[in-house]
């Protein structure tokens, strides 16, 4: 009798534990189910992106001998797809969902005297790396708005220098990054809360890990600003939102 | 002392009072403020009196020493000119003036009206790094200008702050500057101590308050806490052209500033002026026609004392003492080598003043000055020991509603009372008072 009670007690305890575990991971596992997809296009003719004169640094010139470098403010792919647009959920996330920090560590590379990627999105407090693949000295000089909470810094990265690991304290769309040594080098860090995505060369994106619900998705492009769209994500049914920025 | 001489003496006193007022010259240059984008208050405790920062700027040869001093850094349109004007209403009252209509031969005379203290045209600044100049043209009531200051400076020679040279006409190195004084009235505008001569004395040379021609060496520590200077100046009244004689005067000054915790930075120093000046002159065609450069019969004079600037929070005290001595020939107005009156000897005196400022803010300042001069040895034995003693009390305030890097505008109100023992025509005490109400501005 006594032993039976013991077993029942243990089972019920395990059950409680398991349920607790389920409860605690619910948002994550549920989030894994939902996502938001879509494309971002440019409505109109792609603006001409100026070529970059890198003649001040022979190394940079050499890297682009066969492929001339152009500014990357507006990169339009096949079918009018806009690359480097950051999409994030600006409304509809619960507090816990908004404070979740993506676990991967995105990399901002300085390659051929250009920033790869040109725009790097990340969560608040998400660690990211700045590395250099170049045989020339760069300095990484992000210029956030100090009054809003993120503090500017300025570090050097000569050839072969180890990556710089950093993170940002508050949301900011977007932090301009530049290299003073190579004035054409100009990119952005986009610091957001909750799940986010960046468009690929076709202009398509997928925001993963979105729990079912109603959301406002914001698309940010450095030249054209922001657009928003209402999206509903149901269990097992991804939400979709397509955006079109009008060419200036 | 004859009554004629007394009349002469009181006349001199009155004349010198008015001269003091007319010759007021300021060294506040919004031209500098414009150049550097600093407010008046950065350099002036209250315009035109300097604070330690302003004194250091001046001692560096009008340079902030941040490698932006040379005029090449200035906008082409920059022209370092400043104009100062002091329109006012003032009232002057002297109790005993020789008057023909008065039964006793003397009576009180009071005059009042609107007036202007002249106009100063100032320019100064750097010609290049460590090479600077200053000129101050002051006008009289006929808009005739005289050179109040005109000098060239060579600073930080061999890169050392201890080697600075100044040539031309300049203010003597008084850390308590009369030219930058905060008082403007006829009888209280100047410092008696910087112009004093005993009654009957005709030495017009030994006046610390007058700008002089000469060469000055100034050395100071990098932070200007320690300053020392020596100047060789003409023994003259400071006017242009070669002086009446070929004699020189030396002026030496030194001071040290030190920090006294929360009270601020205090400064103590000394000064000494020792020189010779002529008592006689060659003439041609009678005693009224002196020959330029024909002075002779040089005699000695000296003025020395301590000075200090003390801070007590918003209160500051400027203190100057003086021990002065004029040779018997000066003291008795005797032309050497003529015969001195029986028993004549040097005139000796002591004096001091304390000027207090309550700096409510850089834009509002209350001022008081009390000044005392006491004869300690009369030139002629038997003369009343207090003859010629002076007491001077001044009160006022200065409110600057406008004080930026382009202009300064002050409303100035001041009352002054002065008494000279035995200065009246009848040999009794002479008192005089001034009330001043005016605007003082520069741009």
């Amino acid at each position: 009798m006594k032993a039976r009670y013991k077993v029942a007690g243990m089972i019920s305890m395990l059950l409680v534990l398991a349920m607790g575990l389920l409860w605690s991971t619910r948002s994550v596992s549920a989030a894994a189910e939902g996502k938001i997809t879509g494309t971002v296009k440019l409505d109109g003719a792609a603006p001409h992106m100026k070529g970059i004169d890198m003649s001040k640094d022979p190394f940079c010139v050499k890297q682009h001998e066969n492929s001339p470098a152009h500014l990357e403010n507006v990169v339009v792919g096949p079918g009018g797809g806009l690359q480097n647009v950051v999409l994030y959920i600006s409304q509809g996330l619960s507090g816990a969902e908004a404070t979740q920090v993506a676990s991967q560590e995105p990399v901002f590379d300085q390659k051929n005297c250009m920033y790869t990627p040109h725009v790097l999105a990340m969560n608040v407090n998400q660690k990211f790396k700045v590395m250099t693949s170049d045989q020339t000295t760069h300095n990484i000089h992000p210029l956030p708005n100090a009054l809003a909470g993120n503090i500017p810094w300025n570090k050097s990265q000569p050839p072969g220098a180890p990556p710089i690991e950093a993170s940002w304290k508050t949301e900011e769309v977007a932090i301009s990054v530049k290299c003073n040594i190579h004035p054409w080098m100009h990119g952005y860090f986009v610091v957001v809360k909750g799940p986010y995505a960046t468009t690929d060369e076709k202009g398509s994106y997928t925001i993963e890990n979105v729990p079912p619900g109603n959301y406002t998705v914001t698309a940010w492009q450095e030249e054209y600003g922001t657009q928003t769209a209402k999206v509903t994500v149901a269990a097992g049914k991804p939400g979709t939102a397509d955006f079109a920025f009008k060419a200036k | 002392m004859t009554s004629a001489r007394k009349r002469f003496a009181s006349g001199v006193l009155l004349a010198s009072l008015f001269l003091l007022f007319a010759a007021r010259d300021a060294n506040a240059l919004p031209a500098f403020a414009r150049k550097y984008g600093l407010r008046c208050s950065a350099c002036h405790e209250a315009w035109p009196m300097l604070n330690y920062f302003g004194q250091k700027f001046k001692d560096n040869g009008y340079q902030l020493m941040n490698d932006r001093d040379a005029p090449i850094w200035q906008n082409n349109g920059y022209w370092p000119v400043t104009i100062r004007i002091t329109p006012s209403w003032h009232r002057e009252s002297t109790d005993k003036v020789a008057v023909d209509q008065a039964a006793s031969g003397q009576q009180r005379v009071t005059s009042h009206g609107f007036d202007v203290g002249g106009l100063d045209l100032l320019s100064g600044g750097t010609l290049d790094k460590n090479l600077s100049f200053l000129f101050v043209l002051s006008s009289d009531e006929n808009a005739a200008f005289h050179f109040e200051s005109v000098n060239a400076r060579f600073d930080n020679l061999f890169g050392s702050p201890w080697l600075n040279l100044k040539v031309g006409k300049f203010e003597l190195d008084n850390i308590v500057s009369e030219k930058r004084g905060l008082t403007l009235s006829s009888s209280g505008g100047g410092f008696q101590l910087y112009h004093f001569v005993p009654l009957g004395d005709n030495n017009f040379v030994g006046q610390i308050g007058d700008n002089q021609f000469g060469l000055e060496w100034l050395g100071h520590s990098a932070n200007d806490r320690t300053r020392i200077s020596a100047a060789l100046i003409n023994s003259s009244d400071g006017n242009v052209d070669l002086p009446g004689s070929n004699s020189y005067t030396g002026f030496f000054a030194g001071s040290q500033a030190f920090e006294l915790g929360k009270l601020g930075t205090q400064r103590v120093g000394f000064y000494a002026m020792v020189g010779q000046a002529p008592t006689n002159t060659l003439t041609s065609g009678g005693p009224d026609f002196p020959i330029a450069g024909g002075g002779f019969g040089n005699k000695n004079f000296s003025r020395e004392g301590f000075n200090g600037i003390f801070y007590l929070g918003k209160l500051d005290f400027q203190v100057v003492t003086q021990h002065g001595s004029d040779d018997a020939y000066f003291a008795t107005s005797t032309a050497a080598p003529g015969a001195l009156p029986a028993g004549a000897r040097s005139a000796v005196w002591n004096g001091a003043f304390v000027e207090t400022h309550y700096v409510y803010s850089p834009q509002l300042i209350f001022i008081q000055r009390s000044e005392w001069l006491r004869m300690s040895q009369q030139a002629i034995p038997g003369t009343p020991s207090n003859l010629g003693d002076i007491d001077n009390y001044v009160f006022g305030y200065r409110y600057m509603p406008i004080m930026n890097s382009r202009a300064g505008f002050a409303i100035h109100n001041e009352y002054s009372w002065i008494r000279q023992r035995g200065g009246a025509p009848d040999g009794t005490d002479l008192t005089s008072n001034s009330l001043f109400l005016g605007f003082d501005f520069d741009f």
Binding site: K155 | F53, G261, G264
Partner: protein, 291 residues
């Protein structure tokens, strides 16, 4: 006509509204700053109190740095480089790493030293108490001093003896980390990137020319020079090098940089003896293209 008047009054209303808004914004900012007037600074034995510096700031600083400490004083429009905006809490002269707040003593030293080649003079005629109070007052403008601690000061090892080997090693560091990109192959401030440099407000700024022999922005001593390049000058293009130059190498670089200056120094004397020429021994930098 009436419509024009209506438009006029609308415009007027808008202008007044904007003016009132900016006024109340300024007031709100001021009120927020005033709440931080209890800020202190600690420099050695000195304790500075922000509240005690109100008069001093008004007397000496407000014309350029402004009532709100935002660098928008009445004279700011005439100045270049612009006066520092204290509300950001970003300072050139720090002994702490880039992106962190400086030490109180850094602010105190900057006030006393002034910044060469700018309009900021040395305020050392002010008493040390006044300067400590001002340092606290500078801090009270930014809320960062409430929420953040100053960064960790970089360690400066004891200065080694200057030797010919160290000078050569210093020159190699100069080449390797490419100081010449901005400062020029011989340190004349004419590197290929010099002409395009801008500060954080996007205003043109010049790299230091070693041949001028002027004071550095943040001091005159060898230790100051060490600190300048290791911490970088925040707000300017000069980055921090502490991640990429080892302490020992940093001293080598200090000694080499001294040889580029006109002033007499032991390093310069040794460089003369061994015939060390500034410039590029190996990786010849391209000369700056004609502008």
């Amino acid at each position: 006509m009436r419509r024009m008047m209506l438009n006029g009054s609308l415009v007027l209303t808008a202008v007044v509204t904007v003016a009132l808004c900016s006024f109340s914004w300024a007031q709100a900012t001021k009120a927020e700053e005033d709440r931080r007037l209890g800020m202190e600074s600690h420099i050695g034995k000195l304790t500075g109190h922000a509240a005690a510096a109100q008069g001093t700031y008004r007397r000496y600083c407000v014309g350029c740095h402004g009532v709100l400490g935002d660098g928008e004083g009445e004279n700011a429009q005439w100045l270049d480089p612009k006066p520092r905006n204290f509300t950001l809490g970003i300072f050139k002269c720090r002994s702490t790493t880039t992106g962190t707040l400086p030490l109180d003593s850094d602010l105190f030293d900057t006030i006393g030293r002034g910044l060469d080649s700018s309009n900021m003079p040395s305020w050392n005629p002010l008493s040390s108490q006044e300067r400590a109070d001002l340092a606290a007052y500078v801090k009270h403008f930014s809320a960062r001093w409430v929420t953040e601690k100053p960064g960790t000061p970089i360690e400066i090892p004891k200065k080694p003896e200057v030797t010919a080997e160290r000078l050569k090693a210093g020159q190699e560091v100069f080449q390797r980390v490419e100081c010449w990109k901005c400062h020029g192959p011989t340190g004349m401030g004419n590197g290929p990137s010099a002409a395009t440099l801008t500060d954080d407000q996007n205003r043109p700024i010049l790299p230091y020319n070693f041949h001028d022999g002027n004071r550095f922005k943040c001091g005159t001593t060898d230790e100051d020079l060490y600190r300048i390049f290791m911490t970088g000058l925040d707000g300017t293009p000069m980055p921090s090098w502490s991640d990429n130059i080892k302490p020992d190498e940093a001293w080598d670089l200090v000694f080499y940089l001294r040889t580029l200056q006109p002033m007499k120094s032991k390093a310069k004397e040794i460089a003369r003896q061994i015939g060390l020429k500034p410039g590029a021994p190996s990786a010849a930098p391209a000369s700056a293209p004609q502008q």
